[in-house]
């Protein structure tokens, strides 16, 4: 990746969900790119499958930086050993809502929920905690969700 900004302008945690919906890995790499370009240090937290999809797609680590186990990230934040300025939670199922609500409760980060998949309308309706909702009915094609993210420009906020 070219044109990286030397100055660090905060940190962001990307909380990945189950990788069964294809757009997740693509959007995660895109968001990492935009955050890094804006000088924000992204850290990824996911389960083994979600993390491995990213690592295999970016073997020279042009995009991804630190990547950690999701349970470990939850533990570190809960134990106040670590926190982030921004947190993006990927949501396409009920478990995603649970993780986002948990991040809202344990972290001081500005929370963004990225809601996608077949049931995005229903899931958005279940989010009753403070966050910035970014949603699109995206399953295989990441462009609707990319467009929704670009409209919010969370790397600039």
């Amino acid at each position: 990746m070219t044109g990286e900004i030397a100055e660090q302008l905060g940190t962001a945690l990307l909380v990945l969900g189950c990788p069964q919906v294809p757009v997740q890995t693509s959007i995660a790499l895109y968001l990492i790119h935009r955050l890094k370009k804006a000088g924000i240090v992204p850290v990824v937290a996911g389960n083994k499958a979600a993390n491995t999809l990213l690592v295999v797609a970016d073997p020279d680590r042009h995009y991804i930086g630190e990547i950690m186990d999701l349970d470990r990230a939850i533990a570190q934040i809960t134990e106040k050993k670590r926190d982030f300025d921004r947190c993006f939670v990927f949501i396409h199922n009920d478990a995603g809502i649970s993780y986002a609500a948990t991040m809202n409760a344990i972290s001081k980060a500005k929370l963004y929920t990225l809601v996608y998949g077949e049931h995005q309308d229903t899931l958005v309706g279940q989010i009753d905690f403070p966050c910035i909702k970014i949603a699109a009915k995206a399953v295989h094609n990441p462009l609707p969700l990319k467009k929704a993210i670009d409209e919010v420009t969370p790397w600039a906020a």
Binding site: L16, G46, L70, D71, A75, A95, Y99, A101
Partner: protein
């Protein structure tokens, strides 16, 4: 959270939603406590939409356990010391 695998647990509900698990505990257990996400049971930080219910039945503890790909499970584990600790927290609230 790897310790779940080493526990002698019974699954009461599987692939449920956080709300189904909360409702199940409140319907089936007269004794329960409400906690916030991140509350620690054994070595597990609970995940979910607050309030999270933890059921108590003598020495058995019933709590939600969430995984990204499998939704929320309700696990039932027998542990005298942990049940006593949870009851002491309940008394303090």
């Amino acid at each position: 959270m790897g310790c779940v695998e080493s526990m002698n647990y019974e699954v009461l509900l599987r692939d449920g939603s956080f709300k189904e698990c909360r409702d199940y505990i409140k319907e089936h257990f007269s004794e329960y406590i409400d906690v916030q996400p991140g509350f620690k049971v054994f070595d597990i930080y609970l995940i979910g939409v607050p309030p999270l219910a933890i059921g108590l039945d003598h020495d058995f503890i019933v709590f939600p356990y969430t995984k990204p790909c499998h939704g929320t499970f309700l696990l039932r584990v027998e542990d005298t010391a942990e049940a006593a600790r949870l009851r002491s927290i309940k008394k303090g609230t």
